[in-house]
Amino acid sequence: MPFRLLKLAITGAENEPRFFDTREDLKPSYDVVIIGGGGHGLACAYYLTRDHGVTNVAVLEQGYIGGGNTGRNTTIVRSNYLTPEGVKFYDESVKLFKDLSSELDLNIFYSTRGHFTLAHTEAALRTSRWRAEVNKHYGIESEVWDRDQIAREVPELDLDCGGNTPVLGALYHAPGAVARHDAIAWGYGRGANNRGVEIHQKTRVMGLRINGGQIIGVETDRGFVATEKVISMVAGSTPRITKMAGFETPIEIHPLQACVSEPVKPFLDTIIVSSGLHIYVSQSSRGELVMGASVDPSTLHSTRSTFDFVEGLADKLLDLFPFVAGLKVTRQWAGMADMTPDFAPLMGLTPVRGFYLDAGWGTWGFKATPVSGKTMAHTAVHDRPHDLIEPFRMTRFTDYQLVGEKGAASVGF
């Protein structure tokens, strides 16, 4: 590698193969247009080609690929949800994740850590037991641990939380993992591109052209593109796109913030979530603490960061790990989380024929990247929701069939 690097320093890298080709021109029409080059959009493009042989596909990304929530998330992957619909769906995603490095021929740094959801109250413990039972029913490793078991596995944790809100127990989910977010976007992007998909960065969708209730194309800042199938996979920009389509959804955008500390010697090899303190933390392979909390309380279409967030988070984190008090926060950032009232996604058909929605990913959608791509590709090709996503249809709010996932998703990520 160093020799190669040296050679490139002398000869220049212009003629080196790129990760995927960067095309100049948009074609006048495509079989499928995907709006949004995050993990979901690129995964969907990949499965359209691999599973359905649909290759005349364009992914339109207003910025650069993975620059949305995909590249801003804290990468927790798990399947210990609360509803049977959620558990089955996310479990399929975990299975896909496990093979993804070889599937995409790219190391996604999938690292199984074990995931603790700490319970500080009897009510939280009850939700943990409920989740464990639902999870086990679907064959997922998930159990309630008592204080002694937690202390053995995570000796650094102050289970008494400085006397404030002692930990009573935890939901332990052995398969809980983290992965490299950029690699997911780039791996799926390259895989799709190798099979013929065009990826157009710096291409923003400005409007949808609809005729008699059927989508016929998209207006972009680089001109009109005709197509009879559009899949919107834009997470935090979803309400802007659904406004173009002329219908409302329950989605509201709240900033979700995160931060990392300076790197330190490894001391934490598990993922710790506290539903009571509303924070979570893991340690990256570089030694940084990766930390986050719940969404900001009011809606906002912006990725600004606040001092209030770091202050509130540090206050709670010190209850769990008092000895990190001297650590410095080196970076903080935010993404725009597309929140739904029941903390489950919105997926599938919409009132506009040929226009499909993959949204409502809030604080929990990174783990769903593979399965969303796969099921949305199936849904668009067959114009019928894939069985796994049927419960997540947008009409569930007007026919009162909500998928109450709040107990497992609000800070769990």
């Binding site: 979803t238 802007r240 959804t249 989605i251 955008i253 809606t299 209030d308 709010f397």
Partner: protein, 88 residues
């Protein structure tokens, strides 16, 4: 911390307030179908813009209607609930 200026209470820090969501007019009771009620309760015009929103000031127990730009987080004026009822 951000400060919000309201009638009666003056400039107060954001941490004293609770966000109550966008102001929406409910359909007429009796006239609306289940689906219309569902849409009223759950659906939102979630797109960015200048919005009229409910905000609750905890220490005084007062609800206000504030105008806010949801792109920049700027507060653009406030009405108290009593006033707001007479000014659509």
């Amino acid at each position: 911390m951000k400060q919000i200026t309201c009638p009666h209470i003056g400039r107060r820090p954001l941490s004293e307030f609770v966000f109550g969501g966008e102001v929406r007019t409910p359909p007429k009771a009796g006239d609306a179908s289940d689906g219309e009620w569902g849409a009223h309760v759950f659906h939102r015009d979630g797109a960015p813009g200048i919005k009229r929103e409910w905000w609750y000031h905890g220490p005084t127990g007062t609800w206000f209607i504030l105008r806010r730009d949801t792109r920049t987080d700027e507060f653009l004026g406030a009405l108290d609930y009593g006033e707001a009822r007479h000014r659509p």
